[in-house]
Symmetry: none
DNA sequence: CCACTTTTACCCACTTTTACCCACTACAGC
DNA sequence: GCTGTAGTGGGTAAAAGTGGGTAAAAGTGG
């Protein structure tokens, strides 16, 4: 289970250092083997331990492939899913096409999200967070499960 | 299982270098023997390991041949299916007619799609991807399996 | 059927990129 | 303040990508 927000700098080669507190967990659960793909709703990346991703890929592949919406999802998610290994220094080299998609420049944000991480450009994350906060407080349609949630 | 995006250049002879990370898998699963054909829905090519393709071809051939739609599919898919071998440098020579169909010039994109690959012209892929993203977010008709998919 | 032309496939050599490694810096804890 | 660990920056060897030359094969025409 990953959680927390981390401000990280990409270096000149496009590498990001995984915060040390996650490293042991990543090496034990998947020997440092991760899979990154795009998020289709927001311009950010999703980062899964290999095992987690393989379950998801099977689900996606088993969708009815004659259905246009399913084909789109397959092309987008599997098409962008890229294997990434942690190097000896606990860093990941993010592939160019994925960096471009999420518009990652120097300053990025790593969000722990349970079994996966999300990777955002810092500026885009800050903007999006403000939008989310406004929408949460504007009191528009919330599903019942959410209304009954006690924090 | 193939996945991921790869930006590749065609050389002057129409050859494309398979990214090294796929080569071992391709040589072990089919000794470098592949089959390329056209995608009938999008202007791109499909690239299968020989064994995978043979299963598909049998299915296509067993379609009722008095049915006009089935005949069309047979002519299009089987008609364009071309055997291609990886050369000693891990490259594929894409036949002229297939290159023309998918409008492949110098810059192309190789998409891993599970048991097969897709080959797109880069510009066409980027345009199509933007369309897909819009359609995914416009919330139009999604199959039930897709709505329940949790990533 | 033979000779000539064109194409294809294979091979070799060069260039670029990547991955791995090592060293330095900064911060935190002792 | 010193020591250990995390973060950062490059250098280098190896691998991947690229380009073209040549010999064999296929196609064409006389």
């Amino acid at each position: 289970m990953f959680r927390g927000v981390n401000q990280i700098n990409l270096d000149a080669k496009g590498r990001m250092a995984i915060p040390a507190r996650y490293r042991e967990q990543i090496t034990t659960c998947c020997s440092g083997q991760l899979v990154a793909t795009i998020d289709t709703e927001e311009r950010c990346l999703l980062l899964y331990p290999l095992e987690e991703w393989e379950v998801i890929q099977e689900k996606i592949e088993s969708l009815p492939s004659f259905n246009p919406a399913a084909r789109r999802i397959q092309r987008l998610l599997i098409g962008h899913a890229t294997d990434i290994d942690m190097d000896g220094n606990g860093r990941l080299l993010l592939p160019g096409p994925l960096r471009e998609y999420a518009e990652l420049d120097k300053k990025i944000v790593l969000l722990g999200q349970g079994q996966k991480f999300e990777i955002w450009s810092e500026s885009r994350w800050l903007e999006t967070r403000e939008e989310y906060l406004q929408e949460v407080n504007s009191g528009t349609e919330m599903p019942e499960e959410l209304q009954n949630l006690s924090l």
